[in-house]
């Protein structure tokens, strides 16, 4: 696990910064559902791009990897959406 983090140090650093920023934004706009839905959509798209760029740089990008990140992005968005839409 540690090797994996060390190997992808920069990517994980960017991801952690993005996650912390996202949590701060969600907290700031916690009473504005419209903004929260927008934020969760934007967060999901950024994550998909993060994954694709990471694998592209390392020459390991395949169709399956693109599907995988897209589906995890979609799942994350829907987990938010089901709560925010009520």
């Amino acid at each position: 696990m540690l090797e994996n983090i060390k190997e992808n140090r920069i990517e994980y650093f960017i991801l952690i910064v993005a996650v912390i920023t996202f949590i701060i934004l969600v907290y700031t706009f916690r009473f504005n559902k419209g903004v929260l839905i927008l934020l969760s959509g934007l967060g999901a798209v950024l994550y998909i791009f993060w994954g694709i760029i990471h694998h592209y740089i390392r020459g390991k990008l395949t169709k399956n990897i693109v599907y995988e990140y897209s589906l995890f992005g979609l799942l994350s968005f829907l987990l938010f959406f089901v709560v925010l839409s009520f």
């Binding site: 952690i16 907290y27 916690r30 390991k60 829907l78 987990l79 938010f80 709560v83 839409s85």
Partner: protein, 344 residues
């Protein structure tokens, strides 16, 4: 069955059980637990984590969202927002915010409270959620009709919240509502907390009306405030069921000519009016669905990392730790930050 798992060269061995005992790995893939574990031969994650499975989870979550949207159309009041909001707490938290921001405390006024109550009833009756009614009636009309002669007046609305504190916090976090909440032009306030069914969901509407009377002698005193507080704790509240969408009511037709929705019925709630409990609390239900799915996927990903490490498996997949980070972030945000409620 006999030759189901046996390689050709061992066909002659007696008994499939004997064979399985000898080669436990050959039955591994037929065990249920195998679906939860990563596969070395295919260099893939567990079956329950492959792309098809994630797509199915997404479809189920979408389906649940649609079900929660459709239930209120067929069974109004089954889904709702549980709440425990009361006027004394609303007043307490409002004045606390005002004190923190250098504004004087507001006194509870009977006329403003009555205007707020009528506004809330009007919203349930005509099925709208706005400052201006479909018939063009404005907040000031409710205030004036109660005989409150004002220099300044304002209105804040909230719905679907669980507690009084959350309502005031939400108003404070919205710039336009905040300017009312801590506005120095106001001396008095009135609240209404009304339970009912709106758009098919059992909910609580909160109306807050601010004012400064034209004559200082009209200001409410401590005795009047106490009477309003006691009244708000004991009175019965009328709730209206079967409210339709706002767009169904013409905006420029006089109120007398508006046709009421056919399914509108009046129910008198004799219990504590500040508490409302629907059959299913939609906030809890959606949070549970979201956290359950997120938790399930997150746990499988954690198992994937640990099992792969233990067995030294290498897979051609995306970064599992990154997926765990994202799913963990979503669960934490839903659990700790997201709250129900809308303000206008």
């Amino acid at each position: 069955m006999k030759n189901y798992l046996q390689p050709k060269q061992e066909k002659e061995e007696p008994g499939v059980v004997k064979y399985w005992r000898k080669h436990p790995k050959s039955i591994e893939k037929y065990q249920f637990v195998y679906r939860f574990l990563p596969k070395d031969d295919k260099k893939k994650r567990a079956d329950f984590l492959d792309n098809k499975a994630i797509l199915i989870y997404c479809a189920i979550i979408l389906f649940v969202t649609l079900v929660f949207r459709f239930i209120p159309k067929f069974a109004p009041g089954v889904l709702g927002y549980a709440s425990n909001i009361n006027v004394s707490d609303l007043l307490k938290y409002t004045n606390k915010k005002r004190e923190e921001n250098g504004a004087s405390n507001l006194r509870l006024n009977a006329k403003l409270s009555s205007a707020a109550e009528k506004k809330a009833q009007d919203m349930f009756a005509d099925g709208y959620w706005a400052h201006v009614a479909p018939d063009g009636k404005e907040p000031w009309d409710f205030i004036i009709s109660e005989g409150y002669d004002y220099i300044y007046a304002g209105e804040n609305l909230a719905k679907n919240f669980s507690t009084s504190k959350e309502v005031v916090e939400a108003w404070f976090n919205s710039p336009s509502h905040k300017s009312n909440l801590i506005g120095k032009n106001y001396d008095e306030v009135g609240f209404a907390v009304v339970n009912g069914v709106m758009d098919g969901y059992e909910t609580t509407l909160v109306v807050q009306m601010f004012g400064r009377p034209r004559q200082p002698s009209m200001l409410a005193d401590a005795k009047e405030e106490q009477v309003v507080l006691e009244k708000s704790q004991t009175k019965e509240i009328t709730s209206v069921a079967g409210v339709t969408e706002r767009t169904e009511v013409p905006a420029n037709i006089p109120r007398e000519e508006q046709s009421k929705p056919e399914d509108t019925t009046t129910v008198v709630i004799a219990t504590n009016p500040q508490e409302t409990k629907a059959v299913i609390d939609v906030t809890k239900a959606t949070k549970t669905v979201s956290i359950a799915f997120g938790g399930f996927v997150g746990s499988l990903l954690a198992v994937d990392v640990l099992y792969s490490r233990k067995k030294g498996l290498r897979k051609f997949t995306g970064l599992t730790l990154a997926h765990i980070t994202i799913i963990g972030m979503v669960i934490a945000s839903i659990w700790f930050i997201l709250k129900p409620g809308l303000v206008i």
